[in-house]
Symmetry: C2
Amino acid sequence: MRYDGRVVKKGTLLPARDLYHEAVKRALVKEQWTITHDPLLFSYGEVNFQVDLALERLLAAQRGHEKIAIEIKSFLRSSAITDFYGALGQYLCYRLALKLSEPERRLYLAVPLNSYEKFFQTKFAEAVIAEFSISLIVYNINDEVIHLWQ
Amino acid sequence: MRYDGRVVKKGTLLPARDLYHEAVKRALVKEQWTITHDPLLFSYGEVNFQVDLALERLLAAQRGHEKIAIEIKSFLRSSAITDFYGALGQYLCYRLALKLSEPERRLYLAVPLNSYEKFFQTKFAEAVIAEFSISLIVYNINDEVIHLWQ
C-alpha cells in the first residue's frame, strides 16, 4: 500500500485524520472519480496552499471533464463551532485563491455524516452555508460512501 | 483592579490573551469609546455567541450613538495562516448572527500591529479582506493605542 509517497506497512495504524482522508478517497473512486492530485498545490502571491484532493470525471455526451477539489474535514475536536470557524475560513480562502489559478475547478468541503447531522443542519450552520454558497460533500466514514452532494 | 468580574491582585500575571484584551480596551477608552459589554452575548437559533467587546461613542451634531463590536485576536500561534482562517470564519459567522439581532452594530476584527505588518499586508490577505469587506482595527500592544481603523 502506498500512501502519500511513503510506503506504509500492512497493519500500520494511520492517524485518525489520514483514515478519514483515505475513506473519502475510496468513496469518490466508487463514484467514478479519478484522483489527479493528492494534494493539489497552488498559490496566490507569496502564500502557498494545498488542498487535500483534486479529482476529475468524464462528463456524459463528450462535454469534457468535470474538475473538483476537496478539502476533507474530520471535525474530531470537542468544539464543533471552533472546527467550523476554521473550516469556513480555510474554504473561503482556498476558493478565492483557486479562482485565480483554476476558475473552472469547483471546491468542496467534505464533512463526516455525524457532524453534518449534529451541527450542519442547525438553522445557523444552514444560514452560513447559504450565505457563502459553500459546496458540501457529506461522507460516511463507516461504509465509505458519499452520503450527499450539496 | 477588577477584571471580568473577578478581583485580580496587583502584580498577578494575566494570560497573554487577556493582556491583549486589556490593552485594546485601554486604547479604545483613549479614543473616547465607552465599553458597554465585556463580552457581548447574542444568539442565532440554537447557537450562542460571545464577542469580546461592545462599545459606543457619541456622534457629533446629536446624530445619536455609534455602536460597534470587536473581536480581539492576538495571533500568538506560530502559524499566521491557521490563525487567519479561524479568525476569518469566526468574524463572518459573528457578523451574520449579529446582523439579525443588532443590524446597526458594526463588527471589527482587532489585530496586533506586528501581525498586520507581517501578514495582513500581503497581496493575499488584502484580497480576502476586500472580498469579504472585513472591518479591521490595528492595535499596538506596546503603547496601547489604535494604530489604524480600516
